[in-house]
Symmetry: C2
Subunit: 358 residues, 2 copies
DNA sequence: TTGAAAGCGATACCAC
DNA sequence: GTGGTATCGCTTTCAA
């Protein structure tokens, strides 16, 4: 079993022509090939362990059944990773394979990554980012059907559909959860506004207060960073040496790592979570949120769903216009943006407002 | 710019034959094609924006320049991810592209993932796992040059080279770091032994004590789990309500999440890290270890290096035996195991042993 | 030095 | 029903 068997080998063994083999193995045997030949062909294929050479099929059909994925930081993060996992599952279920090129956040590599993928004759392209962010679609990307996941191009002319999380709504529902627990003095910890996730979540937070007819206290929105230490120091500022009446009763964090920092600070100050102060995370980070002590109440980012939705849309577009290599259709494509809702996950880090603070 | 230009288009524009185009663009023009034709060809290629169709090249050359990567949980974790990132960088630098198939820890999907990759005519295969673990190499994998990263096949006959971290040494150096700081009563927290990382790191830990002529106190090695809550509860068992003289002065954790749990527990008990108790992590997990409060001293897993080393070896093997599809060579391949050393990263969570406890 | 022609492996059309 | 044949885009002898 040195060389893989080819269709010709199968044809010889079955005593038919290559064409017959092709027809039968592609399910179009009935009405074209005699029943009995069909059986012989299938048997021959089985004994030779024949599977078609995907490269040859691609060349012949002018479609590779490969989807190229460009990611700015793919595999290093659980974020991108999950988006890609969701996308890949959908692709695989339809006989596609994905090849991902990681630009390692170097935007100058965008175009070359796309070019490499295009040389490989990918049928479609997907651009994925770690954090929600605006970007300029690499020009080449318009040559084949494409989709953006967790990012968007705000230039109207770049008509590439995008799938992004509904951050505003996420921020609103997080605040609402706490409001319903009776909290009135809620702080919000986020990172800088380079990532639009911060302002959007903050927007949702304010929306919730407004809808409830409640004010957001001044100085309660802190943009401190995205990591554990930022959460720690932010919480210290909010809680350390502050009179009970002046302390927020709940702190919403724009990600789970910030929440870890907040709990670390609370522990150090002898404050119990959630009895003295409720803490919320965001992202539902794998192996972090669920196993924290206490387990974090958080807003789960719909990463897999986003990846799946983006890929589903892309493949649908592909099958709509078979054989078209994108040149003409690119302009016609509508520049829609799909907002995928986040999911509130209630665990143990949030609880009713402490007595006398509502 | 609808259809991509082909070599024929270039040939026409330059007024030469396809062969000439091929020769020149592949760098074998000198001595075969007139200087002046060469210039015309390059110009034509540039104006037409020509790049060769990788699919056609693959078919013709019977090598795809694609490396297939099978991962058991690729993208969801920062672990696999970094290995793949390291491997991919090496591959890309040599004009290869990687396509990764995630089995999502479902071992029954191993063979089919490999089969899919083989149908795509990958030139080589790499198997990557999230945690160090033994496995049975999928049979099909032996058909092309292959390598294992972060996993190994302990059946002697399966001659697939493996690249794995030197866990024993890692455990030893972690303990040595603490021993040098004067600690004598050091606890070790790990997960279960399903992953060989636990017993190996523990082995290293014991080795260090033995080398120092010191005993490991009974009950100081706890296999509690791999997550934050496990670390928290393990630490509580070790520290809560225990007389100072009976408390370990340092706790080594088999990963950084366990260390988070330990610090959380220490904070809650009013114990300062590292003044009252030193805490070490393992892995140097991205965005976690460096930003913890206090920043974690940890053993960095050489993930990128492992990926790079594995890919480098694989590509070397490929170029050694061009045109050979692995059938014959598989048996000849030596079953080596490359141990990559971990790297001690000293931060703020470890310090000198408290006075009177050394 | 250059170009014609033979595949790589598979598909699909078109006579027979 | 069946098998011959052109074709996908490229590389590589082999003649001229």
């Amino acid at each position: 079993m040195n060389r893989k068997a080819t269709a010709l080998d199968v044809a010889k063994l079955a005593g038919v022509s290559r064409s017959a083999v092709s027809l039968v193995l592609n399910g179009r045997g009935d009405g074209n090939v005699a029943k009995e030949s069909q059986v012989r062909i299938r048997e021959a294929a089985a004994t030779l362990n024949y599977t078609p050479n995907a490269i040859a099929v691609s060349l012949r059909n002018r479609r590779s059944r490969i989807i190229g994925i460009v990611s700015d930081q793919v595999v290093t993060s659980p974020f991108d990773g999950n988006i890609i996992a969701g996308a890949d599952a959908v692709a695989r279920s339809q006989g596609f394979v994905t090849v991902v090129m990681d630009t390692e956040s170097d935007e100058t590599r965008d175009e070359s990554a796309v070019a490499t993928l295009l040389d490989r004759q990918v049928d479609g392209l997907m651009y994925v980012t770690v954090g929600l962010r605006p970007l300029h679609v690499p020009l080449n990307m318009l040559r084949v059907p494409s989709v953006l996941a967790n990012c968007f191009d705000d230039r109207p002319e770049a008509g590439v559909p995008a799938v992004i999380p509904d951050e505003v709504r996420g921020g609103r529902e997080a605040a609402t959860h706490l409001l319903e627990l009776g909290h009135r003095d809620i702080a919000f910890l986020a990172g800088d506004s380079v990532y639009p996730a911060a302002p959007r979540r903050i927007q949702g937070h304010r929306d919730a207060f407004e809808a409830a007819g409640l004010p957001v206290r001044a100085g309660r929105i802190l943009q401190v960073g995205w990591d554990i230490d930022a959460g720690f120091h932010g919480a210290m500022k909010l809680l350390d040496g502050v009179a009970v009446a002046e302390r927020p009763t709940a702190i919403v964090c724009a990600n789970d790592r910030l929440a870890i920092g907040v709990v670390l600070a609370a522990n150090r100050l002898g404050l119990a979570v959630p009895q003295d102060v409720s803490v919320m995370g965001y992202d539902d980070e794998f192996r972090i949120a669920a196993t924290m002590v206490p387990a974090l109440t958080t807003m789960a980012l719909p990463l897999r769903e986003m990846g799946a939705a983006a890929m589903t849309g892309l493949l649908a577009e592909l099958s709509e216009e078979p054989g078209n290599d994108g040149g003409a259709s690119a302009g016609a494509r509508r520049a829609d943006q799909t907002l995928v809702p986040c999911r509130l996950v209630v665990r143990e880090s949030t609880g009713p407002v402490p007595a006398g603070r509502n």
